[in-house]
């Protein structure tokens, strides 16, 4: 990525947010922003970037949009068909371009939009990803993604989804929706598509900067940083590598330290909710030796808050590591996750440790029937092959 691309990546969300705030229209704002960035790409290499690239981009885009509205108004006057509101042209004060990214995030993640549309819109508007990039990331045809974005923008306009930070009585639910979108993007990346994880962390950093007093925002950022810090150690020869077998030399220690510091901030702010708990678990996971009883206790707390059987499965794994594989197996057998391959993989591992290789073999086979990702399949096949013959 060259210098100009970097400026575009860094500034796109903020410039677009300012334009939507000013123009009140996603499409018009997006077209104007694209035009301004195109002019910059043409001019800046020759003239050098202006002192304040963001102000330049917003001002240029605003002027282009105003020109467009004027042209359409002239056309409307001629045809008497369109009712275009009066365009106002303010002198742009370069120093006071408001940061409206939060308004933009909350609009994109409005619960009246389908979740996949929230995700796509967030990546498009805040992240500056193209339709094609988002389509590739989510393995859908370009056309499907383009339609999804058009439909979402149409609904924002037609249903009057507000461009604002929600008032306090709505904020907790809306913030949860925003964080869920960021975390979903991260998890798509965590499955191997690293760009998305990077994108989610960028989004998390922006949120932490914009909402410095929200513990869950810091909790999510800490969680993503701590997990992402192990990205280079998670795969070897195309197979997934379990945490305790990972090569710690491949961990990004600086990022782990940063994640821990941000977690401390979340806890200092009184954070005890799900992202903070998950970040605390992730922080314990990268310690050596791991404090398994403490990890199991945190999973217990997380399970009480979420009611999630998947969290219970993780708690079982922690209980086993803490020295009680039989208790762990009893817990696993109570969970209703028949279609979840991790349940069977975890059972298999517990049965192997309890010297029940035949039962372990059956459980690995069931996990293999359900698994989709190749890296995990290879891991399970290797485990199955390592079992002693019956």
């Amino acid at each position: 990525m060259n210098c100009l691309d970097q400026v575009f990546r860094d500034e796109w969300g903020r410039v677009l947010a300012a334009l939507i705030g000013f123009l009140g229209d996603f499409d018009l704002a997006e077209e104007a922003a694209q035009e301004a960035f195109a002019i910059a790409a043409e001019r800046w290499p020759a003239t050098g970037a202006p002192d304040n690239p963001r102000a330049w981009l917003v001002t240029t885009a605003r002027n282009r949009a105003i020109d467009r509205i004027r042209r359409e108004r002239v056309l409307a006057a001629k045809t008497c068909l369109l009712d275009v509101p009066e365009a106002t042209e303010d002198e742009v004060d370069d120093t006071t371009i408001p940061d409206e990214r939060l308004e933009l995030i909350f609009t994109c993640c409005h619960p009246s939009l389908a979740l996949d549309a929230q995700v796509a819109l967030t990546l498009r508007t805040l992240g500056g990803l193209t339709n094609e990039e988002i389509a590739r990331a989510f393995l859908v045809p370009d056309e499907t993604m383009a339609k999804r974005l058009v439909r979402a923008k149409t609904k924002i306009r037609a249903a009057a989804i507000p461009f604002r930070v929600p008032p306090p009585h709505l904020l907790p639910d809306r913030l949860a929706a925003v964080l869920a979108v960021a975390y979903l993007i991260f998890n798509e990346g965590y499955g191997g598509r690293g760009d998305l994880a990077t994108e989610a962390i960028r989004l998390g950093r922006a949120l932490a900067e914009l909402m410095p007093d929200e513990p869950e925002v810091h909790g999510l950022l800490a969680l993503m940083l701590l997990n992402d810090a192990r990205r280079d150690a998670r795969f070897a020869d195309g197979a997934i590598v379990l945490l305790h077998e990972q090569d710690r030399a491949l961990w990004h220690l600086g990022q782990i330290a940063e994640g821990r510091a941000i977690l401390d901030r979340a806890v200092a702010l009184g954070g005890r909710d799900t992202y903070v708990l998950q970040a605390a678990i992730a922080a314990l996971h990268v310690e050596d030796p791991q404090d398994w009883p403490q990890i199991a206790a945190l999973y217990g707390e997380l399970g009480r808050r979420t009611g999630s059987a998947v969290v219970e499965l993780n708690r079982a794994a922690a209980i086993a590591e803490a020295g009680d594989p039989e208790g762990a197996l009893a817990l696993v057998d109570r969970l209703e996750l028949e279609r979840y391959h991790y349940l069977h993989a975890t059972r298999a591992e517990l049965l192997r440790r309890l010297d029940r290789p035949d039962d372990a073999r059956a459980a690995y086979s069931r996990a293999l029937e359900l698994v989709h990702a190749d890296a995990e399949r290879r891991f399970l096949e290797r485990r199955l092959a390592e079992l002693p013959p019956s």
Binding site: H110, S112, A158, A159, A160, I161, P162, L170
Partner: protein, 118 residues
């Protein structure tokens, strides 16, 4: 922006049903009071209550022939029970009003639809 709030009754007890009679007088009064308060909310234009979905007739035209079927377009459970109009600044305000409609908490659901050209 003008919205139409379509009240899908679902399993909501409505007057004249056994489920309604099974509610306490206080609960029934609360439902009446809630609708009264909604109708008096600035921006709200009350609609008319509809007879039950079993009284509905659905009309389609195929190849120029008018076909009628007994019953609502969707299944009885999802049938429309009533509607109201709401003039609001944005969708959040309409969602808040929708959440105050008793049917929304009694087993039904509210569909919020912006009206064209408003």
């Amino acid at each position: 922006m003008r919205y139409m709030l379509l009240i899908q009754q679902g399993d909501t007890p409505t007057p004249g049903t056994d489920a309604w009679d099974g509610m306490s007088a206080d609960e029934q009064q609360a439902v009446y009071a809630d609708y009264q308060a909604l109708n008096e909310t600035p921006g709200v234009t009350p609609g008319a209550w509809m007879e039950g979905p079993e009284t509905a007739t659905t009309v389609r035209v195929q190849d120029g022939r008018t076909l009628t079927t007994d019953g609502p377009f969707v299944s009885v459970k999802e049938a429309l029970g009533g509607y109201l109009f709401f003039e609001a600044d944005d969708l959040d305000a309409a969602i808040e009003l929708a959440s105050r409609i008793p049917a929304a908490r009694l087993g039904g659901a509210i569909e919020v639809r912006p009206l064209k050209g408003s």
